[in-house]
């Protein structure tokens, strides 16, 4: 799928995705003069985990609240399972939500909390008891039914909140920062559990998060939001390896970005002359580009090689080196599994390079102020036009 098309022509209604379960069509939400969500169109498929990723104020939570029915769009329409949700109040939507604060009712036991939704539907008492028991078992909280929320730890509360949102078997579950309140270790563990519960129950998840790692692990697809707009939609690897624009490239992971001008093309490449970098970037495969147009080349730190000598086949004295620059190591940060090197290239710009620490106790590790060569493969740079 081509995500960029969506970004460039946002006001044209998206062509119907036959698998779309949730359709957000040209939705805008304004609070006074401030547009929290601006002209967002999205299709979310049945059974997927869709992550809305963005910083604070990007509009991701407002979008989620519109799906739940707590806010109504200023313009545009939300369809769930083909039905226009505009006039449907939150208590009649086939949607449940897991709140960031979990919002467990403090005056009710775990069982009562989970049973609340079923009671509203008038489910028979025996059925309520059975269904509550089942879902509590699924989230491994079966033995905590009589506890009050304040008697639970953070992780346990998160499970109860999940159970409460799932017990009505909604077609769509909205999760607002589901793991933000958990500590790091617990978060990783819970991520995989969420995925397995989702697959087991076949519910469509829409997850709002500011944590890119969380989004990458959880999401089958991500929607990156910026200033109320969708910046890119795609699978985690799409977004990381082929960001659609500078914002996404910079927001997801870290990146080295160089401004340059399209020099010329060849059969299998595009050449970009960058004074900022001090060398020509050769990007494969070839793509159309107007000579002289300003573009940006983005290269991920782990895709840059760092060596003491120029790599073979690239003579150091070449008049026009391609994908090769000289620099000096300025900072080294040892992170355990890898090390980060900040290298100042001859043009003065700092580059970030990461190397996995594959072996224990390198023989002659790089040191500060050492002269090095940086190089990368032609497929590594991403060429961005916006």
């Amino acid at each position: 799928m081509n995500a960029r098309t969506q970004v460039e022509t946002p006001s044209v209604p998206v062509a119907a995705d036959p698998n779309a379960y949730v359709r957000i069509a040209n939705v805008t939400k304004r609070f006074g003069d401030f547009a929290a969500v601006e002209d967002v169109s999205l299709d979310i498929r049945r059974g997927e985990i869709f992550c809305l990723l963005g910083g604070s104020g990007s509009g991701k939570t407002t979008l989620l609240r519109m799906l739940a029915g707590f806010e109504s769009p200023t313009s545009g329409t939300i369809y769930i399972d083909g039905e226009d949700m505009s006039a449907v109040p939150p208590y009649e939507r086939p949607v449940n939500m897991m709140f960031q604060s979990y919002a467990l009712f403090p005056h009710m036991s775990v069982e009562k909390n989970v049973a609340f939704g079923l009671e509203q539907e008038g489910v028979a008492r025996g059925d309520i008891k059975r269904q509550v028991g089942e879902i509590l078992d699924i989230v491994k909280m079966g033995s905590f039914g009589a506890r009050k929320p304040h008697q639970l730890s953070g992780g346990q509360r998160q499970r109860v909140a999940l159970a409460r949102a799932l017990v009505k078997r909604p077609k769509l579950l909205l999760l607002d920062e589901p793991l933000a309140a958990l500590d790091k270790k617990l978060r990783e563990h819970t991520q995989f559990e969420l995925i397995s519960i989702q697959q087991r129950l076949g519910v469509t998840f829409i997850v709002v998060t500011h944590d890119q790692e969380e989004a990458m692990t959880l999401g089958t697809r991500l929607g990156v939001m910026n200033h109320g707009r969708i910046a890119q939609v795609g699978s985690p690897s799409d977004i990381y390896e082929s960001p659609a624009n500078r914002f996404v490239a910079d927001f997801i992971g870290s990146v080295n970005m160089f401004e340059g001008q399209v020099a010329d093309g060849c059969d299998d490449c595009l050449r970009i002359a960058s004074t900022e970098l001090g060398c020509t970037v050769r990007a494969e495969p070839a793509r159309p580009g107007t000579t002289g147009a300003t573009v940006w080349a983005a290269i991920r730190p782990e895709k840059i090689n760092i060596t003491r000598r120029p790599p073979a086949g690239q003579p150091a004295a070449a008049t026009a080196p391609e994908n090769l620059v000289r620099g000096t190591v300025r900072e080294i940060a040892y992170m355990g599994d890898m090390s980060i090197y900040l290298v100042q290239i001859d043009s003065g710009k700092m580059l970030r390079v990461t190397l996995p620490n594959v072996t224990r106790g390198r023989e002659r590790p790089l040191t500060r102020d050492e002269s090095v060569w940086l190089s990368w493969h032609g497929t590594s740079p991403v060429v961005l036009t916006e």
Partner: protein
Amino acid sequence: MRSRGLFSRCALILGLVFLYVPILSMIIFSFNNSRLVTVWDAAHSPTLKWYVALAANEQVLRAAWLSIRIALVASTGAVILGTLAGVALARFGAFRGRLLLAGMTTAPIVMPEVITGLSLLLLFVALQQLIGWPRGVGAVTIALSHITFCMAYVTVVVQSRLVGMDVSLEEAAMDLGARPGRVFFRITLPLILPAIASGWLLAFTLSWDDLVITQFVAGPGSSTLPMVIFSKVRFGVTPDINALATILVLIVATGIAGSTVWMRYQQRRRERDVLLAAAANL
């Protein structure tokens, strides 16, 4: 640092002494035999004779009973109206009449009582001229007036509790299929119940205690306890009032101290639960 801490601590102790000496002196002299209230008659004291006299005082007892009934009605009415107002102010966002409501609920708190009392009486007189109701002033007009000035306090208490409460609790209930009315009765009301209870107590006390407004809107034969006390006290000190004061202080003190102890106990239990829950997670 230490010297200033010492200064403020001394001020606190002296301030507390200042707050309690008058009350203590009333209590002590309620057991004094002498009619001269402030002269301790060591030979025949302590005595309970003023308590006996009080128990036989028809006028005081009748006034106290009227005050209790009015305070019950007024505090209940004030809680209902004040809760509605508090919910509207804290949860309805911007609506037409919001500023009006907000203004009218905070103004009575600082309004000089003579003005409130005068305006309410003039209202009742005008109403009587206009629609023939209320027929004269008395317990009914007192209760209506008390509801009005007490509800302001309840509104503030309820509103600040609601503002401090996580809105997502109510949203979660709605998300789970509860209509607004059910959300209020199943979620909001139970959670603000402590605030409503303290609002009720506050309203009861204010109504029970009010003299100035009541004087305006009371009629002959509807003297509340503060009115009786005031008319007695205005012409000098009377020992049976000391006895009455002692009884009231005793009731209030046990009530407040009891509720404080209970609240602290609850708090402790809660903290222990939280600790246990955290420990279970390790």
